[in-house]
C-alpha cells in the first residue's frame, strides 16, 4: 500500500509546477496549460483523500472539477482566438490593454 502522504506530496509538486509555469511562460496557450496542470494536481489530492476516507464524494467532486475545466478551456481558448485576431500575437507581455 502506498502511503497517502506520497500522493499528497506529488499533488503539491504538480500544483507548484503549474504555478511556476503560469509565472514564467510567456505564451497565452501555455499559460492555460499550466492552469490545467494545477487542476490536475488538485484532482490528485481529491482522489487521494477519497481513497483515504473510502468515500466517493471526493471522486464526484473531481468529476465537477473536470466539467468546469472543460468549460474554462472552451471559453478561454475562444478568448485567446479573439485576442489573437486583434493583436496578432500570443505573447502576454504585448497583451497589456483591456480594450480589444
Amino acid at each position: 500500500m502506498v502511503p497517502i502522504s506520497y500522493y499528497l506530496v506529488l499533488s503539491a509538486i504538480l500544483f507548484a509546477l503549474g504555478v511556476v509555469g503560469f509565472l514564467i511562460k510567456r505564451n497565452l496557450i501555455t499559460l492555460f496549460m499550466s492552469i490545467e496542470l494545477m487542476l490536475n494536481g488538485v484532482n490528485l489530492a481529491f482522489v487521494a483523500f477519497a481513497w483515504q476516507w473510502k468515500s466517493l464524494n471526493g471522486q464526484v467532486f473531481v468529476f465537477f472539477v473536470m466539467v468546469v475545466a472543460a468549460a474554462e478551456a472552451a471559453v478561454g481558448l475562444a478568448i485567446i482566438i479573439a485576442v489573437f485576431r486583434t493583436r496578432e500575437t500570443l505573447n502576454v507581455d504585448r497583451v497589456n490593454l483591456l480594450k480589444l
Binding site: 500500500m1 502506498v2 497517502i4 502522504s5 500522493y7 506530496v9 506529488l10 499533488s11 503539491a12 509538486i13 504538480l14 507548484a16 509546477l17 503549474g18 511556476v20 509555469g21 511562460k25 510567456r26 505564451n27 496557450i29 501555455t30 492555460f32 496549460m33 496542470l37 490536475n40 484532482n43 490528485l44 489530492a45 482522489v47 477519497a50 481513497w51 483515504q52 476516507w53 473510502k54 471522486q59 464526484v60 473531481v62 468529476f63 465537477f64 473536470m66 468546469v68 475545466a69 472543460a70 468549460a71 474554462e72 478551456a73 472552451a74 471559453v75 475562444a78 478568448i79 482566438i81 479573439a82 489573437f84 485576431r85 496578432e88 500570443l90 505573447n91 507581455d93 497589456n96 490593454l97
Partner: protein, 183 residues
C-alpha cells in the same frame, strides 16, 4: 509493493513531463507533455481505485480538452515563444519561492491530515461507474443539472467570442482595417 513501484514510476513520469512542459519553448511540445502528465495521473487514479475517473481523465482531459488546445495552437500557427528578460531578483528568489510553495503545500496537506494511513485497508474500494452514477444522480443531482447549464453557457460564450459575426467591423472580414499596434 507493486503499487509502490507503480506509484514511483508514474509519479516520476508525471513530474518529469510537467518539468518538460515548462522547459519547452514551442507550445505544441508543451501540449504533448501535458498529455503525458494527464495519462500518468490517470494511472495514479487507477492505483487509488478511481476507475471511472481514470477513464474520464483520458477521454475528456487527454482527449477532448487537449485536442482543443492542439487545434487552437495549429489554428493560430503559434511559433516559439519569445523570452522576455526578467529581473535578477526574480531569478534569485524564484527558485526558493517555488520550493517553499511546494513544501508548504505538502506540509499542510500531510501534517493536517489526522489519519495518515488509509482507513479500513482491507475493504476493496473501487469508484465504479455504477457507484459514481448513484451518487451523481441522487445526492448531487442539483449540482449535476447546474453543470449542464454551465456547459451550455460556455458553448454559447465560446461561439460568440470566436465567431466573427456580431461584432462591428467584423474581424476577419475583407474590409477590416489593419490591426492597430500600440507602439
Amino acid at each position: 509493493m507493486l503499487q509502490l513501484v507503480l506509484f514511483f514510476v508514474f509519479g516520476t513520469i508525471a513530474v518529469a513531463a510537467a518539468v518538460n512542459l515548462l522547459a519547452q519553448r514551442h507550445p505544441i511540445n508543451s501540449a504533448l507533455s501535458l498529455i503525458v502528465v494527464m495519462a500518468s495521473v490517470a494511472a495514479l487514479f487507477l492505483l487509488m481505485g478511481a476507475e471511472f475517473l481514470a477513464a474520464i481523465q483520458v477521454i475528456v482531459y487527454a482527449g477532448a480538452i487537449m485536442v482543443l488546445f492542439v487545434f487552437v495552437i495549429m489554428l493560430l500557427n503559434a511559433g516559439e515563444e519569445e523570452r522576455t528578460p526578467g529581473s535578477r531578483i526574480a531569478k534569485l528568489l524564484g527558485f526558493p519561492a517555488v520550493v517553499l510553495l511546494a513544501g508548504f503545500l505538502a506540509w499542510t496537506l500531510v501534517t493536517r491530515n489526522p489519519y495518515p494511513v488509509a482507513v479500513n485497508l482491507t475493504g476493496r474500494f473501487v469508484g465504479s461507474p455504477a457507484l459514481i452514477a448513484q451518487l451523481l444522480f441522487r445526492d448531487f443531482l442539483l449540482p449535476f443539472e447546474v453543470t449542464s447549464v454551465l456547459i451550455l453557457i460556455a458553448i454559447m460564450g465560446a461561439v460568440v467570442l470566436a465567431s466573427s459575426a456580431g461584432t462591428t467591423a467584423g474581424p476577419g472580414s475583407p474590409e477590416r482595417p489593419p490591426a492597430k499596434r500600440e507602439s
